[in-house]
């Protein structure tokens, strides 16, 4: 089964890979397979496994989308050095399809994790905190906002 890869007009090499076909599927498949991995390694209940996946997903995506700034290569001479990956995606345009997808995924994960743990504490508290931070960080109003100067440049 073949897909066509249309060339994009995004000049930022750090974010343009997100516009090619297959990214969303890969993302969802990685989440699903990591859930299976956690289940097989820790031998816990499915609910705990989903909670672990949700919290790990929160840590990894918060660090790579909203904390790390700039690009991992030096070719673009540092034009994006003040922007996190989330702020660079789609050239800063808000509410595109990619951004909506990436906002929905943590919420869906939260719903699955809460449902499979039967809404018990302390998992519910941790999950809710994680999804709250994730969704607020992706709001259009939070574009380039640094609260209390955390992660701002010198």
């Amino acid at each position: 089964m073949y897909v066509r890869a249309l060339p994009t007009t995004d000049v930022n090499r750090n974010t343009e890979w997100f516009t090619y076909p297959g990214v969303w599927t890969t993302y969802i498949l990685i989440l699903f397979f990591s859930w299976l991995l956690v289940l097989s390694v820790f031998n816990c209940s499915p609910g705990i496994a989903w909670t672990i996946v949700h919290l790990a997903h929160f840590t990894v995506t918060y660090h790579s989308f909203h904390w790390k700034k700039g690009t991992p290569f030096g070719d673009d001479q540092g034009v994006y050095n003040r922007l996190t990956w989330w702020e660079q995606v789609d050239n800063g345009k808000q509410l595109t399809r990619n951004r909506k997808f990436l906002t929905v995924v943590p919420v869906v994960l939260y719903l699955i994790a809460s449902h499979t743990t039967d809404y018990q504490h302390p998992m519910l508290f941790l999950n809710t905190l994680a999804v709250f931070v994730m969704v607020v960080a992706k709001f259009p109003h939070m574009h380039k906002v640094r609260i209390f100067g955390i992660n701002a440049d010198r």
């Binding site: 890869a5 249309l6 090499r13 890969t26």
Partner: protein, 489 residues
């Protein structure tokens, strides 16, 4: 248009994700271990900001032996590749004195001028003895010899424009000319896959840059209309100048630009056309005059024609050809002309001799033979590769053919296996190409004989099977040989 199998796309993303994850893990532990070591920065700022060098340290260094291989002979059809070894897992590579003779599928040696040529080389040696290796001066001081004047006149005759100016370096031609042609208040519309010299020049000019979808004249028209209607960024005043920058052959795709449509659109909206013929001059067209000859575009319609001498002419440097007023202006304003050293005289002589051979002015028809041979070779090679099931990009007649690899692990496997079979190929990955679309780029030369190409095809087919890059079904071989079996009586 690139067609990827869906499974390959998913597995490529997954592989890169894994590589990044491992890189981050190693960085994390490295930071932990380095905490105990004292820093010897002495108050200076670190050279790399943040994780700017992450890609180089954690991904590129792993497969460093596939890139920057030193060679120790002229870049002919066969050349000597220096063998290297590494004691610390590819972080540093040491050269040995051993070389291996490999088939050269990576040099831009389109017409075979990259090695000894019976017409050009004696004249170059004579010019070296007469004028010495460097002019030791910029063009305006003492760096213009009679050879330089003859070269500019030769270039105007070859390209078909009234005047030309020649520079010592092809990259510097683009990055120094574009800021002179346009400044703040102008608009540059550049193809999304333009070379980094154009990107550099455009960024250095201070003009507003807008990118249009690769080789899509309809998108160019849409962007142009939108930009003309909006005007300059905040003041909305009309643009002072609009330049559309396209390339003749795109070096990473092998595709030929849709020049007639682009020129028609630019005429309609009164924008200037800047054509970068680095790979197409001397390599395509019936008499080698480039993309304008191939597609039947009048050279008077293209306002600025730029090209380099590195590819088809076997020399160094670049040129700009245009109207007499434009070249006069450039000669007075361009820093590459006023301050940079002029092109070395033996190199200029090489270009003049190469142009004479191509045009047939040396008294033989070697030029026409070379052009016919490169066209034959490219079409044969591309057709055979496609029959074997590889995904090959590029149009017919283009001597550049990228073979798609996609997965990051196939980049080193293809490169190293081919080198083991004595075929030297160039592989390119992220960030020179988009993340998903890593490729091996083959450049065909007129000096490749049919046996060389068949040997290359055998090796590439074998390595392709090992690496699993035959993404399309192979065409079944013709069943002529069964008829011979039947006639046994």
């Amino acid at each position: 248009m690139i067609t990827i199998p869906y499974l390959t796309a998913v597995s490529t993303y997954f592989s890169y994700g894994l590589l990044f994850a491992f890189g981050q893990l190693r960085d994390f532990f490295r930071r932990f271990l380095d905490w105990w070591l004292t820093s010897n920065l002495q108050g200076y700022a670190p050279i790399c900001l943040g994780h700017e060098d992450f890609y180089i340290r954690r991904l590129y260094h792993r497969i460093q032996d596939c890139f920057e291989r030193p060679i120790s002979s002229a870049p002919d059809a066969w050349f000597d590749v220096v063998e290297r070894y590494s004691n610390d897992n590819n972080k540093t590579l040491k050269r040995t004195t051993k070389t291996s003779r490999c088939l050269n599928l990576g040099s831009y040696n389109y017409l075979g001028f990259g090695s000894f040529d019976e017409y050009c080389t004696p004249r170059v040696i004579e010019s070296l003895k007469k004028f010495s290796a460097s002019t030791c001066s910029s063009r305006v001081d003492a760096g213009t010899t009679s050879v330089h004047a003859e070269l500019e006149e030769c270039v105007t005759r070859f390209v078909g424009k009234p005047a030309a100016v020649v520079f010592g370096m092809g990259y510097a031609t683009n990055s120094a000319i574009i800021p002179v042609l346009i400044g703040k208040g102008g608009l540059i519309l550049s193809d999304s896959l333009n070379h980094s010299s154009i990107v550099n020049g455009a960024r250095g000019s201070g003009a507003t840059i807008r990118v249009f979808q690769h080789n899509t004249p309809s998108h160019l028209e849409r962007v142009l209309r939108e930009q003309i209607a909006e005007g300059q960024p905040r003041t909305h005043r009309p643009w002072k100048k609009i330049i559309v920058v396209v390339e003749g052959i795109y070096s990473m795709e092998g595709e030929i630009c849709h020049l007639p449509e682009v020129v028609a659109i630019c005429k309609k909206y009164k924008a200037y056309v800047y054509l970068d013929e680095a790979h197409s001059i001397g390599a395509i067209g019936k008499t080698g005059k480039g993309i304008c000859e191939l597609l039947g575009v009048d050279t008077a319609d293209v306002d600025v024609m730029m090209g380099t001498f590195t590819k088809s002419f076997g020399s160094c440097g670049g040129y700009i050809a245009g109207s007499k007023e434009l070249i006069q202006y450039l000669k007075h304003q361009c820093p590459a002309h006023l301050y940079a050293t002029s092109i070395p005289t033996p190199s200029a002589q090489q270009i003049i001799s190469a142009i004479k051979v191509i045009l047939g002015e040396d008294g033989s028809n070697r030029g026409a033979q070379k052009l016919a041979r490169i066209r034959e070779n490219s079409n044969f090679f591309r057709a055979e590769l496609q029959k074997m099931g590889f995904e090959v990009l590029g149009d017919n007649d283009s001597p550049v053919m990228p073979i798609m690899l996609y997965n990051p692990a196939k980049i080193p496997s293809f490169s190293r296996e081919c080198l083991r079979e004595k075929v030297a190929v160039v592989v390119v990955g992220f960030p020179a190409t988009p993340l998903l679309l890593a490729r091996a780029r083959i450049c065909i030369s007129a000096s490749h004989s049919r046996e060389d190409l068949i040997r290359a095809l055998e090796v590439i087919s074998k390595v392709g099977d090992l690496s699993g890059i035959k993404y399309f079904p192979a065409e079944p071989k013709k069943i002529e040989h069964t008829n011979n079996d039947i006639k046994l009586d």
